[in-house]
């Protein structure tokens, strides 16, 4: 996944270590003898305004996704949110009347963002669509951090043949254009549900994380504290789990944000191609694909999911960049 790979090695990255903010933190850390873990409140205060906006947006998206699922599965639609799959103009056997909704309606009090081409509530579909993005992004991050992180930390620490073997397999997987390999993998499955899509994308996320983890593990392995641990006779396993991995993990977690941005785009592309989670489940990508047919009549129905998708990706990038920079400060401090 070539675009995410280059993320931690931004060419403009080292300059930030020289900025006043970073030297202050470094000095603080040096005083205390070890890097200080900042509280959420401190992190929030350190965020530039735009990063704050991005963080709030991400919280809204995650909250919306969870709310929509609660509504669907726990409260059976009792919470105030329209049903994403009801065609509001359809005949309702319970009341014996046709619904008063119309396809491609403009925004109204009942339908905040109007209705789509078969009169379903766009706002509800958007909120429900965020669940798919959330799950795919989280599972891929989990795969990446747990499997890729473990693998990368391990081979960066033990080196030797294991490293050569693992890294050449990783290189082969990365030798494919990411989306093409994903399409080839996805085409194997006849049923494409959320589980299959997340696992396939998760599996394909492992190589990039492995590379990041290995690079960091190599650097950490050369630090004095690892030498000290060796000198007092710690077992390799305990060095790996108590010295290496705890120091590789923060980098991986902030990398996960930027990687998630890429994953959201990839899932969006897959949905747009009609090869992700199957209809009628709404995803941002398939909403865009369905609405683009009506672009001559109502461009707004394309606009909403496009806007939400792009803003989410932008926010993930912003917040991810912020944490990576903070991580670089931390790295300089240990």
């Amino acid at each position: 996944m070539s675009t995410t790979e280059s993320a931690p090695h931004r060419p403009d990255f080292p300059r930030d270590r020289l900025s006043p903010v970073s030297t202050a933190t470094q000095a603080d850390a040096a005083q205390q003898g070890k890097p200080r873990r900042s509280t959420p409140r401190q992190t929030w205060k350190a965020m530039p305004f735009l990063v704050k906006v991005s963080a709030v947006w991400l919280v809204l998206i995650v909250g919306g996704a969870i709310y929509a699922k609660l509504d669907q599965h726990v409260f059976n639609g009792a919470l105030p949110l329209q049903d994403p799959n009801v065609q509001t103009n359809n005949f309702n056997p319970a009341t014996g009347e046709f619904g008063d909704g119309e396809p491609l309606e403009g925004p109204s009090a009942a339908h905040w963002l109007g209705t789509d081409t078969i009169a379903r509530d766009t706002f509800a579909r958007l909120v429900h669509g965020s669940w798919v993005s959330l799950i795919v992004a989280s599972i891929s991050a989990a795969f990446g951090i747990i499997i890729g992180g473990l693998l990368g930390s391990l081979v960066g620490f033990v080196r030797g043949r294991t490293e050569t073997l693992v890294m050449s397999i990783i290189d082969v997987i990365l030798a494919f254009p990411a989306l093409i390999l994903l399409l080839a993998l996805v085409s194997i499955f006849e049923v494409r549900d959320l589980f299959v899509i997340s696992v396939v994308i998760g599996f394909l996320s492992i190589p990039a994380y492995t590379r990041v983890a290995r690079a960091n593990s190599l650097a950490v392995s050369n630090r004095d504290f690892v030498l000290a641990a060796r000198a007092i006779g710690s077992k390799p396993r305990s060095i790996l789990f108590r010295e290496i991995i705890p120091n590789v993990l923060p980098t991986l977690v902030s990398y996960a944000m930027v990687a998630a941005a890429f994953v959201v785009v990839v899932e969006g592309s897959l949905s747009f191609l009609g090869l992700s989670v199957q209809l009628p489940t709404s995803t941002w990508g398939n909403m865009i694909n369905q609405a683009r047919g009506d672009i001559k009549v109502d461009a707004r129905q394309v606009l909403w999911p496009s806007l939400v998708l792009s803003m989410t990706v932008l926010s993930l990038n912003q917040v991810g960049d912020f944490f990576q920079k903070r991580g670089a400060v931390r790295d300089a401090a240990i």
Binding site: P177, L179, I180, L183, I288, R292, S306, L309, S310
Partner: protein, 317 residues
Amino acid sequence: MGKLIATRLVRLVLTLLAVTFLTFSLTALLPGDPVNAILGVDAPRDQETIDQIRADLGLDDPFLVRYVNWLGDAVQGDLGESYINRGQSVAGTIADRVPVTAQLAFMAIVMAVILAVPIGVIGAYKQGKWQDTASSAGVQIALSIPNFIFGIFFIWLFAVQLQWLPASNWNRLSDGVLANLETAILPAAALAMTQMAIFSRLVRADMLATLQENYILAARSKGLSDRFILMRHALRPSSLSLMTIIGINFGALLGGTVVIETLFAVPGLGFRLINAINQRDILVIQGITVFVAVVYVVINTIVDLLYAVIDPRIRKS
């Protein structure tokens, strides 16, 4: 230099073997019997026909034997026949569609570079001023918008609102250059946007570093104009990193063509791949995947080698 070429070529061959093996294994993993796909759902199935097809396809051989046979054929340009469109050779389909995708990719890279260089240079030259802030913000936003959204926006603006260009369809180059460009420019532009953002960010960062060099100071003290220094002295070293990032991003670009070709109904490799996936046409999926991966690997090797040719420091290390 000779040694460098030799090691890169050996690595290339090994990677190609691994990549082809992986693609082949993917298709071997497929659930469901390809025989069913060939016979169709309604065909009468007597054991004899089935055995015949299995023998023809060599499905009863061990996996490695099948791989070696398939690879031998593939090297000679035989990737098998489409299951769905009987008689259509996979290699023929690919050959038919490569020019379209290649043209789109080429146009996208050219457009991206033409846009990215001035944006990056202005960002570096006016570092910290409003021009820099504006272009960096634009680049951030362009990076976050997926290419298909750019594509739809271009369709909405240029095809629906302004009605300057067609929303989809494709005219071959043989129909005339202008007719071809009319259909190619929007998809290429949609592909170019993300690349443009990545390239211009790189150019900016690179230029910032170059502008600190002593030779820039020397050029300035000679009284050369800023424009001359920027274009001649500062930009040239950046072309190296630009070339590398074009190579690295080529994979993402190829992935992008799949989505963009589907959106604009452009009859390229990507559009065919999506068709094949929807029809579960295994050999076509396999053929296109292997072809694209091989092209990507080869292009990256070429970029590596070119880099060494241009920059003597790499040659020595």
